[in-house]
Symmetry: C2
Subunit: 322 residues, 2 copies
């Protein structure tokens, strides 16, 4: 069995470390030393986020290692996308149980899934840590934005329109169906296993939107975060939420899936009325549907109509860890 | 019981996010959004490292949360120190079992230990993640160095003297004694629980040394990493290894503790002969003893004499995870 350093070598041989050189950012020293060395262009700001995925909390422990790796990276790239940033570098912390039967096979598959997304977004794996422990993965992602241009959760103004990208609810539907031991359409399953971070869309929206957040905790919960940060209120109509045909075709369809399910990794953003005309072009160029679901108002709180037009209380909805 | 966001709030209220403004680096947006925003001065390089600590692998699950937090940060600052970098920002990923009896007390104590070291080194906590899962902590640390000045593992040349800082072996001695259910002198225990990252020393050594590494896997293992990276060989004499009085006084003293025990977080570095005269001053200014333990030669491999002057084989020594 290869030791820790052998496994790290396998990871590093498969996953590229250099990243793209857009923005003139460079990896001056990659993995293998006590730390990595990076050069950041003077006109850019660093954008840093990090997320941990734990076995049997965020994914099934016996899932395909390639899918686990893909998602661990995707959820971080989604956070960068929500700032309008260009992903540049990532670090990877992987704890693997000492009882893993074939750790090198596991690590090879993991590296393959990680690489797919690394190559797609031309990020570089600049460092990390591999050790024995419970199966858990932490990715820290570093992106860049032109100084002063990042989009935040704060910035929404009364009168702004509220949009979401893509379609909602497929991931949480898939999870629910799996837990219920029911059949899951492959399209729904793919949303759960391989969410597509909206990186290109986030960058395209950057000059146009007033605030943005990614939908990881569920639309209502995340929109509430945005409203609090912006000190505004909103009214949305859940009948307007974009839902895929595959999800609507699900016999057990539940409207709470798109509203509160979470794990969607779509972008929720606000846009001043005079900027709405930019969105058609952005949607066409990025091939991502953008749907208006409500409007920002003065005050605080989220007023939300269910598909029957009844008021619902969103405070208690969304993913809670404790 | 507070929810995830309540616990995050407790952490963020205790641990400062701004960091120092040395080097004109600034936190433009701290924790609370999808990502943090940072400005890096044009004349500096980023230095990035990350390390995970898992319960019952790297620390005892029932240890004082303040000690766990301190060590999770210390081991990362030690990696930055080994590059000669100034620590600037950190992210923190904390997974806490859902069965934790009083999560807010646990988190408060954790935040206290983390803050001690954050304040000491004026780093800012810029983001992170808190979720349910097995007790595991990942810290990612970002430091700065003037461009082109970072010290690496490569760079040692034949004729260079090999030094280590401080005294070795106390942490692994404490761990061994605890495992053997023997009494542990408090001084030894403190080295295990609260290793002191050699941040100031690393920066002072930066212009003077030819290569450097921190001793986390054990002196012999880490020196071997340095030799491989520099493509040189070395001869050291373990009789020269610096060992504290407290450790020598230990009835069960084992010379392997300082040689291979690990968890020391001292710096091992090489220095050209003509630069050795700088070291007295640096040692005096930083109040850290610096001890010459051997010399770099051409070729490959580590020749190591045990305290009786016998050759030992270091290949199999040092911490192995798998």
């Amino acid at each position: 069995m290869p030791d820790e350093f052998g496994l790290i070598q396998r990871l590093c041989q498969t996953i590229p470390s250099h990243g793209s050189h857009h923005n003139n950012a460079t990896v001056d020293l990659g993995p293998g030393d006590d730390a990595a060395l990076l050069s950041v262009p003077a006109d850019q700001q660093l954008v840093v986020c990090t997320d941990t995925l734990n076995a049997d909390i965020h994914f099934f422990a016996d899932a395909n290692p390639a899918d686990i790796a893909y998602k661990a990276l995707a959820v971080n790239l989604s956070d960068l996308a929500a700032m309008g940033a260009t992903p540049q570098w990532v670090t990877l912390n992987l704890s693997l149980p000492a009882t893993t039967v074939k750790p090198s096979d596991w690590v090879d598959q993991f590296a393959k899934g990680f690489s797919e997304l690394v190559l797609q977004h031309q990020v570089g794996l600049i460092g990390g840590d591999l050790c024995t422990g419970p199966l858990t993965i932490t990715v820290t992602a570093i992106g860049l934005v032109p100084k002063g241009s990042a989009v935040q959760r704060q910035g929404a103004l009364p009168g702004d329109a509220i949009y979401v990208s893509g379609a909602l609810g497929a991931a949480s539907a898939a999870l629910q169906l799996i837990k219920n031991k029911q059949a899951v359409a492959n399209e729904l399953l793919q949303h759960l296993l391989r969410p597509m971070p909206r990186v290109e869309l986030g960058q395209a929206l950057r000059p146009v939107v007033s605030s943005m957040i990614d939908i990881s905790d569920g639309l209502l919960a995340d929109l509430n975060h945005l409203l609090k940060a912006s000190a505004v209120s909103a009214t949305i109509n859940t009948a307007l939420l974009p839902v895929s045909q595959a999800l609507l075709a699900e016999p057990n369809y539940d409207w709470l899936w798109p509203a509160t399910g979470g794990d969607d990794y779509e972008l929720c953003f606000t846009v001043h009325q005079q900027n709405r005309h930019f969105l058609d072009d952005i949607s066409a160029k990025t091939s991502v549907p953008l749907t208006c679901i409500g409007e920002i108002s003065h005050g605080a709180g989220l007023t939300c109509l269910d598909p029957q037009g009844q008021l619902i209380k969103p405070e208690t909805m969304g993913w809670k860890h404790f």
